[in-house]
């Protein structure tokens, strides 16, 4: 659709088939890139005037309240709508057994998720929507709606079914990878570790619940939603509703966090759209918090069999990371537990495999750093165990196994600053004060320990486009169907455009989160900044070419600063060079650089914890993350991303644990009082340090993903610190007091 707005002829397209050593961000003189600039959307957010999905004020809006199933597996016999249609304000009860979504869709898919809700496959599956003139009336009727089920036998208990796992199809990572002979290497090794780590299901729990307002205009749908990836979400929605992609527009200007849970469409979207069509009025459907837990996505639980083998000097000869995860029957997605293990360390003999156990529980899908976030718990805790067995410092163990090239593909890393990060972190954190013997440092009731873990997160570039318009008054608009889910996209994209075009930030209007603008990959997998940022870069480069031509100078001779074009001893306002205005589009696509180099961001985490010797309570006292992720586009928002990731790590290590009733599949702790997110008092003043780096193989802005690097390795640093503090090695997350108590040393 954007061709109408942005002339397709003025598209600057780049496929990353070659390194891109020169960047206009290094030659720009506006001086805004990388600086810790306040968010451009900040004043709107702090004043309550940023508009989130459920907040659009529309005439004739009907309120929808979703109804979830009360069986974990079964078939709907009847929905007795008549029983509630007479209640005050009730307009209708809508179910569509074929069209409603059984479950949410995974991110980036362009097809509909599994549809159909007559047969219920998990507790809380959304089976109906009740519409009324007010929220209160709809809620009362939704609670009262009689639904009769024929109950069936479901599979709810992972332990009971763990042997029924099968190898799923490959995804972002191969389901099954082997190299050499790990069994032989384990037998021949001087030192081995052979342990199993377990992590529970988790929920992204973004503070904004999933919400949709659906408005039909004849046969075209506009959906105000909470989405990370509107371009592909609109396609998913169109396919689900059986309409053409062109007929669906998604608007998601502000999103109250996503962390993976809003990558694909969730059941409320289709329920709202179907109801709005039937009623002929706009319909709003907001998930209750319990429904977010029940019927969006969970991160799968994992069981990780870790095997490590070394020679006498600590050089790894084998790495095994064989995992079990779970998902709904018929769903292929598996938590890619071993994805970081492929490139973390050297070692000739390798086995990195995944098996998927079908369970009748909420869809499992992506949550912040799918794979590394939990996989690095197994890997990095096992490395800690190995270091102890070897009598070697954990940093030294990592240093000597830091591979020069990809240990499986034999291609170079685009950049890799793992050891450098560890060294810097050790210095900043005071690692040399750590006592390698656990349980030695005591302050009153508190046992104090330090832990370290590497951070590894694969880098991705996704096809994305952005448009820039420059007007005769010297102002500009940057538009893309990219989103800002709290990541800082509004700000960093404005900084990129400003740096290259020399247009001050306050003269740039940002327009994101609307599928009428150039399509983009959106926010997920930490690719957002690099992908949309490169698209803005390319659009700005194109605009710069036009400005040079209008100025009559070579591009290399042109300087753009503070709204002026300078060259050939002339200084002209940029607005005077654009005639009646110019519009350009930039488009980035991934290319063979992804194959010619292995691209990832690296870093490490250091944690110091106190373990209460009486109660087993764990307090994180301080934490440091050191990260190398290419160019940092905004030092302030990048740091915030890392704080967020590190805090997710604290939650994974200490508190977060989705518990399902093993008999019914019902999620027991489906609210924010019982699913324990880290609160302010759980999080100390975290420190973040960036290693200065450029990745010329990644993209023209030389930046890599950062939002997930901060979680990868954060939890194991805490876990390892707990061991160092008290000598109790817990391999079952989260580490709650009860798991420590029995092993604590005597007072």
């Amino acid at each position: 659709m954007f061709e109408k707005i942005f002339g397709a002829g003025d598209t600057n397209s780049l496929t990353m088939n070659k390194p891109h050593p020169d960047s206009l961000l290094d030659t720009g003189v506006q001086g805004v890139i990388s600086r810790p600039i306040d968010r451009v959307d900040g004043p709107l957010k702090v004043s309550g005037t940023a508009t989130y999905a459920a907040e659009y004020q529309l005439d004739g809006l009907a309120h929808g309240v979703l109804v979830g199933s009360t069986v974990g597996k079964g078939r709907i016999v009847s929905v007795d709508a008549d029983a509630v249609l007479g209640m005050p304000g009730v307009i209708d009860v809508v179910t569509d057994f074929d069209t409603f979504l059984r479950n949410a869709q995974q991110g980036g898919e362009t097809t509909a998720p599994t549809q159909g809700v007559r047969d219920v496959d998990y507790f809380g599956e959304i089976v109906a929507i009740v519409l009324a003139e007010s929220f209160e009336e709809a809620r009362a009727a939704a609670y009262a709606l009689p639904i009769e089920y024929e109950k069936k036998e479901g599979q709810y208990a992972f332990q009971a079914h763990r042997t029924e796992g099968e190898t799923p199809p490959d995804s972002v990572t191969p389901a099954k990878f082997t190299q050499g002979d790990i069994d032989q290497a384990m037998r021949d090794a001087a030192v081995t570790v052979d342990v199993t780590y377990v992590t529970p299901s988790q929920n992204s729990a973004a503070m904004e619940p999933h919400a949709s307002i659906a408005v039909w205009n004849d046969d075209a749908l506009t959906l105000y939603g909470a989405y990370q990836m509107p371009t592909s979400d609109a396609q998913q929605l169109a396919k689900s509703l059986g309409v053409s992609d062109k007929k669906v527009r998604i608007i998601a200007r502000y999103i109250g966090g996503g962390f993976g849970s809003k990558l694909g469409i969730a059941p409320e979207s289709v329920a709202a759209a179907v109801a709005a069509k039937k009623l002929g009025r706009p319909v709003k459907a907001v998930m209750a918090r319990g429904q977010v837990f029940d019927a969006t996505v969970r991160r799968s639980n994992t069981e990780q069999h870790m095997r490590l083998a070394t020679d006498r000097n600590g050089r790894l000869t084998a790495i095994g990371h064989d995992s079990l995860t779970s998902n709904l029957p018929g769903e292929d997605y598996f938590e890619p537990v071993g994805i970081g293990t492929h490139l973390a360390y050297a070692g000739e003999n390798r086995s990195i495999t995944h098996q998927l156990v079908p369970l009748n529980l909420t869809l499992s899908g992506s949550m912040r750093a799918p794979g590394e976030a939990v996989g690095m718990i197994g890997l990095e805790c096992a490395m800690d165990e190995l270091a102890e067995k070897l009598g070697m410092d954990p940093i030294e163990l990592r240093r000597i196994n830091d591979p020069a090239v990809d240990p499986e593909k034999d291609v170079p890393f685009s950049s890799r600053a793992l050891t450098q990060s560890l060294d810097k972190g050790a210095e900043l954190f005071g690692w040399n004060k750590r006592n390698a013997m656990p349980g030695q440092r005591r302050e009153g009731e508190w046992l104090i320990g330090m832990g370290v873990a590497s951070a590894v997160r694969g880098n991705q570039l996704q096809q994305s486009a952005a448009g820039i318009e420059i007007r005769p008054d010297g102002t500009a608009t940057v538009a893309s169907a990219m989103t800002d889910i709290g990541t800082g996209s509004y700000t960093i994209l404005a900084q990129i455009a400003s740096e290259i075009l020399g247009i001050p930030l306050d003269k740039i209007t940002m327009k994101l989160g609307d599928t009428i603008d150039p399509p983009a990959a959106g926010s997920g997998g930490s690719w957002g900044a690099a992908s949309a940022g490169s698209a803005v870069y390319l659009a700005a480069e194109q605009a710069r070419k036009k400005l040079a031509a209008a100025m009559g100078v070579e591009e290399a001779e042109l300087t753009l600063k503070d709204g002026y074009a300078i060259g050939d001893n002339r200084q002209v306002p940029i607005g005077e060079l654009v005639g009646s205005g110019i519009e350009v589009t930039g488009e980035i696509k991934p290319g063979s650089q992804e194959k010619q180099t292995t691209q990832a961001s690296f870093g490490c985490h250091f944690a110091e914890v106190g373990v209460n010797a009486v109660t087993g309570e764990v307090r994180v006292r301080r934490m440091l993350g050191v990260f190398a992720a290419g160019r940092v586009l905004n030092a302030k928002t990048a740091r915030s991303q890392c704080l967020g990731g590190m805090t997710f790590g604290i939650g994974a290590a200490l508190t977060e644990d989705l518990i399902h009733d093993q008999r019914t599949g019902k999620l027991v702790n489906r609210d924010l009082a019982e699913y324990h997110l880290p609160v302010n008092a759980d999080v100390p003043q975290l420190e973040v340090h960036f290693i200065d780096e450029r990745d010329i193989h990644a993209n023209p802005i030389h930046a890599k993903g950062i939002g997930e690097l901060g979680i990868s390795g954060a939890a194991p640093a805490v876990v390892n610190a707990i061991y160092n503090a008290c000598g109790v090695r817990v391999r079952d997350m989260p580490i709650t007091c009860d798991k420590l108590l029995a092993g604590l040393p005597p007072m």
């Binding site: 004043s47 309550g48 999103i255 990541t487 302030k636 609210d671 003043q685």
Partner: protein
């Protein structure tokens, strides 16, 4: 029913079951206050009622007809931000922004409570507490931020409370011989 919100008089004909939060969000167009849980578990809906912070999702609108209600919209506006709003922007005390109005209203209420000498769980004294970082964190723990801007939220509040800049953790670590 009639309400006084941000110094303005509002009339609304709402269901008796309507929460104060839904009154603002669904009936008066004041969507600055957020709904994160509707169960009093997240703090996103925090408003000031007669100067005290409350979870507006847990309170019925009908109970507040004679109260002075202040929401985020009343604290300050774009171009005329309240010092805490301004400090949140400068310290990046948010990411997605969804918990932010609640955090800021909560901080306003919290600073007043602390000034009046109300103790918290971590206070050394029941009558007289110093506004340390631990006090700020404890007193702000009813406001969940999944984006986890906590360190920056503490920085913003400390600055507005006139307690200066934080002591860097790493230097603090040196002092304790870590």
């Amino acid at each position: 029913m009639h309400f006084t919100i941000n110094g303005q008089r509002h009339e609304a004909d709402v269901d008796l079951r309507t929460s104060l939060l839904d009154l603002c969000r669904e009936h008066l167009g004041l969507t600055g206050s957020k709904k994160g849980c509707d169960h009093g578990q997240c703090g996103a809906c925090t408003m000031l009622v007669n100067g005290r912070r409350i979870n507006a999702c847990l309170s019925l609108a009908v109970m507040h007809q004679d109260d002075e209600i202040v929401t985020i919209e009343g604290l300050g506006q774009v171009g005329n931000l309240h010092p805490l709003q301004d400090a949140f922007v400068r310290h990046d005390g948010y990411q997605c922004g969804y918990c932010t109005p609640g955090q800021i209203c909560s901080a306003v209420g919290m600073l007043d409570e602390q000034k009046k000498g109300w103790p918290s769980y971590v206070s050394e004294s029941l009558t007289d507490s110093e506004l340390t970082d631990a006090e700020i964190s404890e007193r702000m723990s009813g406001n969940i931020c999944r984006c986890a801007a906590y360190p920056n939220i503490v920085d913003a509040i400390r600055e507005v409370a006139g307690k200066g800049d934080r002591q860097p953790v790493l230097e603090a670590a040196k002092e304790i011989g870590a």
